[in-house]
């Protein structure tokens, strides 16, 4: 009875604490089975084989306070989290008289053509900030952080279009199969993932096969141990049965 009383208190306390903590930590309660696969990449112009079920990419907007033209640190991300940027205090400079800065990230429907010998991979995003209330020009005095989701297939780097030409940037790819890459963005303009012409536009059969093997490998291993566990339990129960009869 004491165990049940303790259990009831722990259950209620745990549920209440989990509910209160959830909003602060911004994560679902447990999810520790395996890594949750990311949602499919959202294409502005999907490849023919991915046209079915494709959802259009989303933009993002953030309004940041800018007392005396100095923008506080902050960031903006698209609502589908395909592009995330953030910058430190003083990175953005707005004209005098600006009270706030509106920063936007928008997928570009008609992007500038890529340089010769390379192809666009995924979407081109336009990143821009304007000062309010007079739509004043905001400039980036130093680089800011940009993380971009990359679509399946080969991607060599993320490039920046300054209004005249594309510039390749030193790109850091996330490890462990995470489909994200980051750069130090030099300014406002268009950004896109690119690859040399002729490289794969979708995941290779080999990587698909390795994922397939990994998945069924886990299942096979767990099933094997499960069968051993059940066999052990049956054997144990059989061994216990005669002693139970004797006691009676």
């Amino acid at each position: 009875m004491q165990a049940r009383r303790v259990g009831l208190v722990a259950l209620l306390l745990g549920l209440l604490s989990a509910a209160l903590l959830h909003g602060r930590l911004g994560a679902p309660p447990v999810y520790d089975g395996i890594v949750v696969p990311p949602a499919p990449y959202r294409y502005e112009s999907p490849p023919p084989n991915l046209r079915n079920g494709n959802q259009l990419p989303l933009g993002g907007q953030a309004v940041l306070p800018a007392p005396n033209g100095t923008v506080a640190g902050g960031g903006v991300q698209t609502d589908d989290q395909q592009v995330i940027t953030f910058w430190g205090l003083g990175t953005l400079k707005a004209p005098a008289g600006t009270s706030s800065v509106t920063c936007t990230i928008q997928p570009v429907a008609n992007p500038p053509a890529p340089p010769a010998g390379v192809e666009l991979r995924g979407n081109v995003y336009a990143i821009n900030c304007v000062g309010q209330p007079a739509n004043g020009k905001v400039t980036a005095t130093t680089t800011f952080h940009l993380t971009m989701r990359i679509p399946p297939g080969t991607v060599n780097d993320i490039r920046y279009y300054d209004g005249q030409s594309w510039h390749n940037l030193t790109t850091l790819f996330a490890g462990g199969g995470d489909p994200y890459a980051s750069v130090n963005a030099p300014g406002f303009g268009e950004y896109a993932a690119m690859a040399r012409s002729g490289t794969a536009t979708s995941s290779s059969p080999f990587s698909d096969l390795s994922r397939y093997l990994e998945f069924y490998g886990i299942l096979a291993l767990v099933l094997l141990f499960g069968i051993i566990a059940v066999a052990q339990e049956i054997r144990r129960r059989r061994q216990r049965r005669p002693s139970t009869v004797k006691k009676r």
């Binding site: 049940r4 259990g7 009831l8 722990a10 903590l21 309660p29 949750v36 990994e214 141990f225």
Partner: protein, 197 residues
């Protein structure tokens, strides 16, 4: 009796170390691949449960005879309710647009790993700590172990939340005297990640 009380904590502590060790091994193997490290972790937990051998049987409760089927059904239902309550705070978040067609295979593995964690923590560890140190210690140590095994993946910020969830699952174990409702609640909470993470 004295001998049993002296012997038990060593076994409970040893099994607790084994479960924590399995989590450390999982963290060390993570660079090789998430699938491989998860498989090793799952196999280790299963091995601990098999070695102990008593994890899946309900705790003996004074004054109760054989467990009727309705009690099992009630406890599973309670597990479903607790699982729903655990994902409750997340359902106001924006829905992730993962395709439902891919959900089932992922959900099967998540269910297996969640059930194995419950078998090890709320099964093996709970039973041993209950016998030695009482229900409060069994629930509290289970919650600590539960939060610690998630530390490598989610970091310190998730520690209080995982401790709270561990407390709730330990409480569920005490209330129902069974591991199955804990596995059900844990699995439902994990599945929520597909839709809201």
């Amino acid at each position: 009796m004295i001998q049993a009380r002296l012997a038990a904590p060593r076994r409970a502590a040893l099994l607790t170390s084994l479960v924590l060790g399995a989590a450390v091994v999982r963290a060390l193997l993570l660079p090789i691949g998430d699938g491989f490290s998860t498989a090793v972790f799952a196999a280790s937990l299963l091995a601990i449960a098999v070695i102990d051998g008593r994890a899946l049987r309900p705790s003996p409760v004074a004054g109760e005879g054989a467990t009727p089927a309705w009690r099992l059904a009630w406890s599973v239902l309670l597990g479903v309710v607790v699982g729903m309550l655990l994902i409750g705070p997340a359902i106001t978040d924006r829905l992730a647009d993962r395709p439902i067609g891919d959900f089932w295979s992922w959900a099967a593995i998540a269910a297996i790993v969640a059930s194995l964690e419950e078998t090890a923590i709320r099964g093996v560890l709970y039973r041993h700590w209950l016998a030695e140190a009482g229900p409060l210690a069994a629930v509290a140590i289970g919650a600590v172990v539960f939060s610690l095994i998630h530390l490598p993946r989610y970091g310190l910020t998730a520690l209080p939340l995982d401790f709270a969830v561990g407390l709730a699952l330990g409480g569920l174990r005490s209330v129902t005297s069974r591991v199955i409702p804990c596995a059900v609640a844990h699995t439902i909470a994990d599945w929520g990640a597909w839709f809201w993470a």
